[in-house]
């Protein structure tokens, strides 16, 4: 007997928190706002845990809330669907979300818009949970759009800053471009399957064979859905908003742009696995985009000097890994990496926030150094996270990344090779970050009264870097713990079996030749560990033992180095090809042409015309008696003529 889980509480509780803080927060004390925000997000997490425990054996679980659209044969309702996939996402979102809420209490304490921040953060949770729990594409799309809105609000949180406002706009607009593809995919689904409900659509697809010709409807839908995922999850070519999104406060970067929102694309692709599995061309597109993005973003990451930008490109790269996994059919591996990535990337961002807080708002790594003596706890957690992301066993990142590389190898060794190279580069730039920030000598300026740096949230007026308060450190420690043990759920394919009811045991078809492949698997595991260690050693070489080398290498590479530092000029390319013509066209055609000439001038000319006509007509009322007499006589003559004409007709 499936219990009634009241799943609707999970999204609605944060919504209530957002409403309370949004409407009442301005007049409330910081403590009150914190309590409200923490209570509602914590309650959502607790309820999610309770649901997990109660329904663990009876998944999948549907909960129907209300009618929404009933139009002809098409219907979409407010209904929630809980299966293993959404359970994983649910726990990750609420758990990591709750931890970041706790962290934000400390990080944002001195900010003037304190209540607004928590209102937006809770609002984000509401939308994200709707996205994850939805049982049809339309409700998911509402969550999809809603998280885009929350992202815009939070990126542009310090909206008085031009760069932050522009970054928020950029994120929203680029997202919308992806959403356009997503929408057309949805329309195609409606057209062919007359429903957007997951269960119904996948039931209809089930008997179809894979489309070998590569030109069928499912391929089109798959590619269009991938376009949407590219926008939301920052893959090529729509990744450009994610580095700019670092303008937002660091907890926002941690929650939205690392752990949860950007993974929505991966979740959506995984949820639509039924479509992708029957459209090999679309699947290949996913894999290629993911792989290329992983490598591309990693190469940009090695030359960045802003600590958050390095992490941003790292996120893009790791998302590429997840899409690579989905693209080779290893959906559960992708979700596994999503989970571990949430832990260590969330930790990396929060620790970076702690570092930034310690040095009073400075984000340039060249002005940091030697911080491990000042902020040891932050250092320890960041070290754990770096080892995890580099893929060194037995931490979480190793298990998930290796699973992806293994599955990729079985489809095409090119994917594996690029993934391996990317792992090497990942390890390199992550350790570079670690060494530049925590080792060596402190290059920073003594922190002044109000904290330097444009991302200052109100630095403390101390003379040297200091550790963050407990409220910020505890989430770091918890996430570090999960970065260590989180990967162990994947040992022995346990995670894959857990998700098998969702993805089918199609991946188990690769059990053919298991003994031989076991040996290969172990060999590949060793190779990837070696690659990670090599990356770490190279970073140690360049940044610790011979610190003058990087400049020499950069000078030797010349133009290529410049291109990498400037992110391959992609933003400039987009600006010239897309943005500028659009803005110019809009100014000249739409604004001056249509708005001014057609709309405004029509009204102005109508008014002018009325004035001219009345100017002429007013001469009738001249004040001159005889002209009045003349008009009367003329009118009378006209009337008489008319009557005669009438009479003559008879």
């Amino acid at each position: 007997m499936t219990p009634n889980l009241n799943l609707w509480l999970i999204p609605v509780l944060p919504l209530a928190g957002a409403a309370v803080n949004g409407f009442l927060g301005k007049k409330s004390s910081r403590a009150a706002v914190s309590v409200v925000a923490l209570f509602f997000s914590g309650a959502a997490f607790a309820w999610a845990l309770a649901a997990a425990f109660r329904a663990f054996d009876t998944l999948p679980y549907q909960e129907y809330l209300a009618h929404w659209i009933r139009s002809g044969s098409f219907s979409a309702d407010f209904a929630f669907y809980l299966d293993q996939l959404s359970l994983v996402m649910l726990l990750v979102v609420t758990g990591v979300g709750f931890l970041i809420h706790i962290y934000s209490v400390g990080y944002m304490w001195d900010d003037a818009g304190y209540y607004r921040f928590f209102s937006y953060l809770n609002l984000f949770l509401f939308f994200m949970l709707t996205l994850v729990l939805a049982n049809n594409y339309l409700l998911m799309f509402i969550g999809w759009e809603g998280v885009g809105l929350a992202s815009y609000l939070l990126i542009g949180f310090w909206f008085t800053k031009d760069s932050a406002a522009s970054a928020g706009k950029k994120a929203f607009i680029v997202n919308r471009i992806g959403d356009f593809g997503f929408l057309i995919g949805l329309f195609l689904i409606i057209q062919h399957f007359h429903s957007l409900n997951f269960t119904q659509v996948f039931e209809q697809i089930r008997p179809s064979p894979p489309e070998t010709a590569g030109a069928g409807v499912l391929t089109a839908i798959g590619i269009l859905l991938m376009v949407g995922a590219c926008g939301k999850s920052a893959q090529i070519p729509l990744y450009v908003w994610l580095p700019d999104a670092m303008e937002g406060p660091t907890p926002v970067s941690a929650l939205i742009h690392a752990a949860t929102m950007v993974t929505a694309g991966v979740y959506m692709v995984a949820r639509s696995h039924g479509i992708f599995e029957r459209a090999p061309v679309a699947l290949t597109v996913v894999a290629i985009i993911g792989t290329l993005t992983a490598l591309f973003a990693a190469t940009i990451g090695i030359a960045q000097t802003d600590i958050k930008k390095v992490l941003a490109y790292s996120t893009v790269s790791q998302l590429g890994y997840m899409f690579m996994a989905c693209g080779v059919g290893a959906f559960s591996a992708g979700i596994f990496h999503l989970m571990t990535h949430a832990f260590f990337k969330g930790l990396l961002f929060l620790a970076a926030g702690s570092v930034i807080h310690a040095v009073g708002g400075e984000q340039d790594m060249r002005k940091m150094g030697g911080l491990r003596t000042y902020i040891p706890v932050t250092f320890a957690t960041m070290l754990i996270a770096t080892i995890a992301i580099a893929g060194i066993p037995p931490l979480a990142g190793f298990w998930s990344k290796d699973e992806i590389l293994w599955q990729a190898y079985q489809t095409n060794w090119v994917y594996w090779l690029i993934g391996l190279i990317t792992a090497f580069i990942t390890s390199f730039y992550m350790f570079r970050l670690l060494f530049m920030t925590f080792f060596g000598d402190y290059h920073g300026v003594q922190v002044d009264e109000h904290g330097r740096g444009s991302h200052s949230h109100g630095g403390h007026g101390h003379g040297e870097p200091h550790e963050s308060p407990m409220v910020m450190l505890v989430p770091l420690i918890i996430l570090a713990f999960f970065s260590v043990v989180g990967g162990l759920v994947g040992v022995g394919n346990r995670f894959e079996h857990f998700l098998a009811p969702v993805f089918g045991s199609g991946e188990a078809a690769q059990t053919a030749g298991e003994a031989a492949s076991r040996g290969t698997e172990l060999l590949l595991m060793a190779v990837s560990v070696v690659a990670a260690l090599l990356g770490a050693m190279l970073a140690w070489l360049l940044y610790l033992s011979k610190p003058h080398l990087p400049q020499k290498i950069a000078a030797a590479l010349g133009g290529f180095y410049e291109a990498v530092v400037n992110k391959y000029y992609v933003d400039e390319l987009y600006a010239t090809v897309f943005v500028k013509p659009l803005v110019d066209g809009s100014t000249r055609i739409l604004w001056q042409g249509v708005d001014r000439k057609v709309i405004d001038d029509t009204i102005n000319d109508a008014a002018d015309g009325a004035r001219h006509v009345s100017d002429e007509v007013r001469h009738m009322q001249s004040g001159n008696l005889r002209s009045y007499a003349g008009w009367i006589a003329a009118g009378a003559a006209a009337l008489i003529a008319y009557m005669i004409w009438l009479g003559v007709g008879r």
Binding site: R618, H619, G623, N624, L625, R626, A629, A633, A636
Partner: protein, 100 residues
């Protein structure tokens, strides 16, 4: 025997003379008299039709027209006197305070 149309032509010409005077003349009183001329022309037309159709109502109507003309003449001349008091002139072109 005089055809009806002769009477009507005469009436029409009298009316036209009245309108012409109404438009041409500058003296207010003369304009007023042109109006009376118009009314007379119309009266002739009424009586002619009454005789033609053997309807006495035409002649009764003439009676009423004359009564109204008398009333109108009285009031109109009073107004002319009032205007003369303020404007000191009987020239209709100089009663033009409402001019643009």
């Amino acid at each position: 025997m005089v055809p009806l149309s002769y009477y009507l032509v005469l009436s029409g010409i009298l009316f036209a003379c009245g309108v012409a005077g109404f438009l041409i003349k500058r003296n207010i009183i003369t304009i007023f008299m042109s109006i009376e001329l118009m009314l007379n022309g119309v009266n002739l037309s009424f009586v002619a039709f009454a005789a033609h159709w053997h309807a006495l109502a035409g002649q009764v109507f003439v009676f009423f027209v004359m009564v109204v003309a008398a009333a109108e003449a009285a009031v109109g001349l009073a107004i002319i006197i009032a205007v003369y008091r303020t404007r000191e002139t009987l020239n209709v072109d100089q009663v033009n305070l409402l001019k643009l």
